[in-house]
Symmetry: none
Subunit: 198 residues, 4 copies
């Protein structure tokens, strides 16, 4: 009679539903136009339930950002193959970003909402975009060490430049102006030429 362990697939538990609703609304309406009450209602819960899981609205937004970051990072680490040329690496990364963007439209944009907008004081330690810029810095550095990339750049600056370029083009793409294939092709060539050694 070990049958007592039927887990019956219950509880699409309230936190999970709040997270989904918060993501949906932050993406659709932005931070300021989304009220905790809206998030709870969208999740089919009472207002108070929101505050069972988050101390305030800001914490909920930050959790959303953090989740998006981790999701995105998983996507990226899957996409990147170890021994590839600089161009291949860039193309793979771009494709991974656009894949994520296509399957989660608007999420990156919402997650990158300027922290000044959320709370003038005590904002996010480091904005999402800056963190990703730092990751690009590391990539640039390692490519330089492998002789794939020009060694005379300040990797920090170049990392931020790359992430800025991707952000702005991605944004325009999501406004429906630019086609993805061209985007990947152009940006890959642009970045590769800018970075490659000699």
């Amino acid at each position: 009679m070990n049958g007592a362990v039927i887990p019956i697939k219950k509880r699409p538990d309230s936190l999970t539903r709040l997270k989904a609703s918060a993501r949906k609304l932050f993406v659709e309406r932005g931070y300021h136009a989304t009220r905790p009450q809206d998030i709870a209602r969208e999740a089919g819960l009472g207002h108070g339930t929101f505050y069972l899981h988050y101390p305030d609205k800001r914490a909920c937004f930050l959790a959303f950002v953090e989740d998006a970051r981790q999701e995105m990072n998983s996507h990226l680490s899957i996409a990147r193959t170890p021994d590839s040329s600089l161009e291949e690496m860039i193309a793979a990364t771009l494709n991974a970003i656009y894949d994520y963007s296509d399957s989660h439209p608007g999420v990156l944009r919402a997650a990158m909402t300027d922290e000044m907008v959320i709370d003038a004081e005590g904002a996010q330690a480091v904005p999402l975009l800056v963190r990703w810029g730092e990751e690009w810095s590391a990539l640039v550095l390692s490519a330089a060490e492998k002789g794939q990339a020009c060694k005379s750049y300040n990797a920090e600056i170049i990392g931020q430049a790359i992430v800025g370029a991707l952000h702005q083009t991605g944004r325009e793409a999501s406004r429906g102006q630019l086609c993805r294939k061209q985007l990947v092709d152009n940006l890959t060539r642009f970045l590769t030429r800018a970075l490659k050694s000699d």
Copy 2:
């Protein structure tokens, strides 16, 4: 009847003072933390006077953005010399941008506040960053025609990429992390290599 003489040093009219106050406060506090009342008070005017000049707060912000754009464009057109190499043109432009940023700290950042933040519906026709991206597109196109830049790029995409790179590095610079000289040097080389023909 000498009373008719032109009063040479009269006090700036109320709209001018409102504009100055609005800029100051939008830069210092951001859009949401600035109330029309604060702007009027900062300008030494009654609260109601604000609405004599702007239909609402949003219009005031948009006017601020437009002014910043025009100021910046003046700076740029002065800085650019007609017959220069691609590299010279890029370096001159970057320097002009940082000059403006130094003499008007925070203005560009505030003016580029994401329109989604200002009003979910009926946002700015075209965000400032996108407009500047379009101007870079035109520069890239004309450089390509002059044989200075690679012809096979989609200028629209590359324009947005460039402006994104500049925005993000500029932002990090204003967080006090990056030194201007290095910034100009690295970005000039980065963009020149990425763009140049052959």
Copy 3:
């Protein structure tokens, strides 16, 4: 034509009306059961107007207490005649207190609401009752100096004891249990005997 100075008896101005409404409601319902909105509505004003005059509800209550204190003090200073025996002074004071209580029913009681109730942190510097206790201390001291009262008391303690006795009997009186004439008579004798020298 100095007629330009007709003051036309305008503006039963909003602060005055708010004060009256606040007093009425704090007396009728107590601090916690009175909302800023109720005060404003009672005064025939919008909610927001309340916050034009008080930074918060607590400040409004404290202003009410201070007003009551001053009103009461005026009453007392009018009632007391300079050269009177201890017994006369006590009787005059008690009568003045009950006169005030009769014409402003409930006000003293509401004004003496324990500060702990209003805000655990940063409460009233010194509660109203304690302040009045200190004034009684001074009276006891001066009576002792004039040889009217026993010199061996600690005036501070006795001042608080007197004010406590008056408060508690006044409270019971307002619950309709005790008759005023008897109250004044009994308390006067009680205090006089307790205080008088020899």
Copy 4:
């Protein structure tokens, strides 16, 4: 089958623990700043358990007051010796009150929280202070009958006056302003002189 032995040192049942926690928190934070949830958590119980024992928060507070009253009364009846002079009786009572206050700091003060604060409508049948006033009335009456106290007082009024004096001085004492020895000495003399016959 030794399992049936009486478990001598079982943990105090939930009501006992709730009572202890309620007392602790009402004393430390006051009525309004204490939530049923806090009381339950402090007692190491689930929130819902609170409502197994009390219909609502008000009932819990009233139970706390009643317990304090009974405890205090026990203290007093132990302290009072049958055949003593008025002065001895007063001194013994005061000492008993301060003993209780010293060993249960803050409890009397919390228990005497104005009933208006707890619930505007349908407040406590008779506030604690008034009940103790009535007990003092009885003491005064019996002292008068024994010829120890002046017969011409209205005992009801004098009872309330005494209890008010004790309350207010006790409160100031707990604010750390007055020393106990002096308190007992001064109040004993004060009350004895006020009460004693002839």
